[in-house]
Amino acid sequence: MAEHGGGGGCCPPMDLFRSEPMHLVQVIIPIESARLTVSYLGDIGLIQFKDLNAEKSPFQRTYAGQIKRCGELARKLRFFKDQMSKAGVTPSAKFEAKTDFNLDDLEVNLGDLEAELTEINANSEKLQRGYNELVEYKLVLQKAGEFFKAAERSAAAQQRELSSHQAGEESLETPLLKDQESTADQGKQVKLGFLTGLVPKGKAMAFERILFRATRGNVFLRQASLEEAVVDPNSGEKVNRSLLHFYLPCLGECFDIKYPFDVEKNVFAVFFSGERAKSKILKICEAFGANRYSFAEDLCKQAQMITEVSGRLSELKTTIDTGLLHRGNLLETIGKQYEQWNDVVRKEKSIYHTLNMLSIDVTKKCLVGEGWSPVFATQQYKEETPRQITIFCIVDVMFQITICINLMHIKIFCFKIQYALQQATIDSKSQVGAIFQVLHTKELPPTYFRTNKFTDSFQTIVDAYGVAKYQEANPGVYTIVTFPFLFAVMFGDWGHGICILLATLYLIFREKKYSSQKLGDIMEMTFGGRYVILLMSLFSIYTGLIYNEFFSVPFELFSPSAYACRDAACSEATTIGLIKVRDTYPFGVDPAWHGSRSELPFLNSLKMKMSILLGVAQMNLGIILSFFNALHFRNAVNIWFQFIPQMIFLNGLFGYLSLLIIVKWCTGSKADLYHVMIYMFLSPTDDLGENQLFPNQKTIQTHQGESYTALEGTEDSLQVEAGHDPHDHEGFEFSEVFVHQLIHTIEFVLGAVSNTASYLRLWALSLAHSELSTVFYEKVLLLAWGYNNVIILIVGIIVFIFATVGVLLVMETLSAFLHALRLHWVEFQNKFYEGDGYKFAPFSFALLGTEEE
């Protein structure tokens, strides 16, 4: 049992008020049952193991090899996931078939599947490349064939023309040289070589230009563009590789991420003469990534080639399709088991991580583990309700029915951890059982609150500022009510409150669906805080009724307004005003105030005083909680020299101000409270005159002033008292404590003024909200209504809705949320909260899933 101020025992225990009592436990497990033991302990999830091998590096630990294995399996699983997502296969949701997975079998299985999958991928890639090449070849054959056909046709036509020319005209006009030239031309015909292929359309111009320049214009290039784009086999691969080297340094993962490029290409045929020109052209083709394909000049051979290529293309297509089908099936089978495998691998990895934290005994036969665990997990705790039942029986007969039901409501928590250890020994057929014992230590245990889904969100809000120290009073208990309440004070409009209530009820009704889904960041935060928002909206409806604002419009809901005109003609309504003719409006602000000229002076005064009163109440609650902390930790010094002076100071000053406010309201006196408070200090012996609120006020105020000087002395004498207790704490330094307490005193005194003033933000935000609401109502909705035009009305309504939702429901909500949070974190919690504990992070499989995501 941790010996930190074990329990004040002054008051009955309350759930969530103090963190669970924890103790340090030690388990000694034999090696053969180690894995199973840790696995069962992970199922329970109530031990936070301490790392006993902290000075060892990850590679020196006992189970480093096993972790590497798990890492390898995890990599394989990630690869499968990648393949599945690319093929569009979703892993099916896991069914709770608790088949015990042997890690070795799983390893073999996954290895086989991976090899098969990579083989299929490589094969299909090869086939695909061949297919693309054939497609290009076919296109080249077709287009180049057209070139040659066209060329032949024109050549034949020219030949015919020439021969007809020659045959026809042997007149004197035909020059003799021309004849010779043509024959000479015939003779000079050099054997031309040609190359055919495909070049990307974008590069076609540059290709042509460079060819021309390189061969000094001694080539003839013929190009024809293709109607549709083709998949380029080589460039796809080339791009693939360079991207991989850039993005994926681990080569093991660059299996086949295909970015097939559909490129627009031109078929070209280039005619050249000479070997040097040929080599130049070849190099230029390579540089431009132009794929070359051989082409036969013979016409019938061309036709043959085309049919052959078409046949091979269809063959390849069927082969590729079957390959893809096979791959799809494989991925489906993987998908069925994927979630389960994933779970198993994650669990095993975490088990080995935990086993690494246990220290191995000298004899190498058992592992010793230390960890924090809550006391309730290791004790028998039977919970029944018979005692309470008898009391209720006496009180009320009506409860008898519920009592009968409650009789069956008996919970028994067995020795949870010991049970798990026993079970593991039995299951692993070990000879020796595990040993379990509780250690005594002075270390600070972790903080553990048992929250349910409702209280969890409020506890998160408190923990965000600082995790509670072990067993100190938890502000979360009061935050559950005061946080939504202070939000509502700043938000007060029951129309807006209803809107937010509807939104959050929707979230709560769809709880099951949303909790299993993966939501975006903002949605996740909103969904996680749905119960906070629910309470916020309920309180907002209440404060909206009190402020009498429904989208800034007041209603006479409870009784007619208390104010009426002074005379029948209402002549003075706009100069002197109305008078109060009936009893005070019974619930909330009188509807007569809205829209009047003196509305703001009245509401400002009301809301400011309300803020001070609420603030003083909450700060007193904080100081009282510090009293309970002092009681619990048996720190009498804190009670006499911290709690009492704090109470006297705060209440003497601001408690007194609150009292004056209430007295002024009750009596209707015209006293100036500013004047009273300031002159209480400046010249306390002066006569109060018209500022007197109650008899003997002057004497009381003088005594208050005197008590402050006494207080300074008391707080200093705290140091003297504390100095006589050096053996209670280790390393107790008088000067340190003295300085600490001095700082604390000054902080509290100055803080009292600033914190009380800080509560005025309740007034400020509530004023802002109501003014914005009024502006949107009057200047948008009423203005649109005044035009008597349907279109303008509809536009006005749409603008009003967008403005209300965007500014008031979203921005104002966030703003009021933030300020209410600040009031809690700073003004409330600095009266008593230390918040320097650390959270209980048990080894639990249930929590694994959430932290991996």
Partner: protein, 70 residues
């Protein structure tokens, strides 16, 4: 209805709410104490808010002065 009467109404509502909480979620003494604390805190907060607004209007020092347009 008067200040005291309405305060009494709040007290009664508080007691009824605690009894309802006790009936529908009876989960052991410590949990019951938590529920009771929450209900009492909520009742006190709501009552304070109402009481402040009511007291401020009991003996008003300023009265509504209507604006010109009305």
């Amino acid at each position: 209805m008067g200040f005291l009467l309405t305060t009494l109404v709040f007290v009664v509502i508080g007691i009824v709410a605690s009894l309802c909480a006790r009936i529908c979620c009876n989960k052991g003494p410590s949990a019951n104490l938590l529920h009771l604390t929450l209900v009492i805190t909520a009742t006190v907060c709501c009552w304070m808010m109402w009481a402040i607004v009511y007291l401020a209007q009991m003996n008003p020092l300023i009265v509504p002065i209507l604006s010109e347009s009305e």
